[in-house]
Amino acid sequence: MTEDLVLPAGRGTGDAVAPEPLLQVSGLVKHFPVKGGFPIRRTVGAVQAVDGLDLVVHAGESFGLVGESGCGKSTTGRLITRLLEPTHGTITYRGRDIGHATRRQLAPIRSEIQMIFQDPYSSLNPRQTVGKIISGPMEINGIEPEGGREKRVRELLEIVGLNPEHFNRFPHEFSGGQRQRIGVARALALEPKLIVADEPVSALDVSIQAQVVNLLQQVQRELGIAFVFIAHDLAVVRHFSQRVAVMYLGKIIEVGDRDSIYTRPRHPYTHALLSAVPEVNLVSGEGPQRERIRLAGDVPSPISPPSGCRFRTRCWKAQDKCAAEEPPLIRLSGNRDGHLTACHFPEEPTTEPRDEDIVLDPALTALEDRPAADAEAEREG
């Protein structure tokens, strides 16, 4: 048992990807019914949270899932861990389809796929001691580790950087970052092969975030656990994941290795997303280092998403074809192997500043087009 925890390097390099997929998701769909109507309430529509998703996660790799609220990334996480049952599609874990498996069939797999949640305050039972929380999964699965559960709990606490003597304390005695460590320890208790981490650091302060990111990275490398890392923070995902998928309104619009997505993106939405990240420019005196793209409005409702390409209503390159035809997720010429993009009119593979900024927001255009002197005069008057 213990030996597994101190796996030697070798898998540690991370970028080496095993050929056989650990998890394969294809055609995944999750619709949540919307009730309404009169006089009898019935299903009148569906929130298309996830709508036709394909992805592959290899053993030991970290796969990042980024997107804005409503893009379906959290739903995807919950489908993979089978906290939700998909409407359609298959989730193949180590060759077995678990998409519609029953509780009983899932039991042996549950221990291999674990989840870490966003909120370290509400995801731990306040009435249980830390020892009880961490040993809970072992108890449920009837696992009796060598040397007893308590010994194992102490080991796990040590791995996540907590004092092993604290196993008798309650969650409220710990800070936010420490609670998230407890969450990690619980996820590790059953020696999982895949951990789905849903926004694991976004509730934490900046200085604590880095502690937890480092811990997860260490766990991923040293124990060779595959991660599906779900977050809205593009910089954190870049730091943590070797492969990244960008989601928009229930679909993956671009996926590829880290370098491709962050420096050679092709989908306009990926461009917009990257350009929106506020960054500290560490070198003074230089002009903008990245392109400036400002979209208009918010993400449309997933109840009635746009036809064809879902991004077209906010896209500066959209044409009639985009409304009529849904672009397939394919490798474009010039893209690296495994870098897939769903776009009819892809962008240049660079994030360098453009000759002219793309500003779609009407308020910004109105305010920025007017010469400054004009505005000055109006203020004075």
Partner: protein, 353 residues
Amino acid sequence: MTTVTKAEGAPAPTGPDGFLSVRDLQVTFSTEDGPVKAVDGLSFDLDRGTTLGIVGESGSGKSVTNLTILGLHDPLFTTVDGEIVLDGKELITATEKEMERLRGNRVAMIFQDPLTALSPFYSIGRQIAEPYMKHNGASKKAAWERAVEMLAKVGIPNPKERARDYPHQFSGGMRQRAMIAMALVCDPDLLIADEPTTALDVTVQAQILDLLKDLQREFGTGIVFITHDLGVIADMADDIMVMYAGRAVERGTVDEVLRSPQHPYTWGLLNSMPRLDSDLGTPLSPIPGTPPSLLTPPPGCRFHPRCTFRDRVGGDRCATERPLLAPDRSSACHLGAEQKRTIFVEEIRPRLG
């Protein structure tokens, strides 16, 4: 024993126009567990039309400071000392009536979560029109027209119709735009923005930040911008003040604080934050430990229990003596000026990639 040197006792020379100046602000909450000094001896200045960014983590006292400027703290449980002077007027001793005339009129505020910060019970238009009627004596009709005009200005499509909508009918980004319209309806001199984009998606955040900058240029508003995100502050601010555990630990221009930071806490923040262009080979270097409880704050420098550089200060000065923060460009740290420069250039900067 703690030797608390009266920090920033000497009045800082006021800026070019000294539009807003805060001197030795102390805010204490009485709680069941005892008094909590949420803000401890804070001083800063803001010039008209410029932006001061206040950076800090939860519990650093950055939000409390700004509620105090507006006098919105709960007087039952809060004691406030020091000086807050806005355009020559002392605010701590001002009467409630005087404060009411100021709020929403000369000083406005926008909050983090626009869903809870707008009343669910009244239409957006009405909520924007209200302060305009109160402060400008405008008629209901004129105020409504002004509200529609403001909604158009902040980029709400069909402002005439949308003004009649309720906040829950707006999307997150539109709500924050409505909040901004509400704050700017009386053309205030000072806008306090408390984490205004934290609850928003990144593409919407970029729109809102640009909108604030553009509107600031048009209206000439001074902004105090509170955030925990260094990237956002780099984008928005002219000057930066870094806060930790109720005190300011570093201040300077954006260029100074972000490109040649002097305080170990600022170093820690920069080092623990992943960036889109950071070197993936170097792991993040988090600040060890957790922020202190303000019920029993550490003596001396409040950052010293988490500071990895305190050994380089002779003796136990860090644990006993509060480091001073001088006016203008400075950092509250006992390390020598040359030491700070060397440490940053040789040890911190390389890790930033």
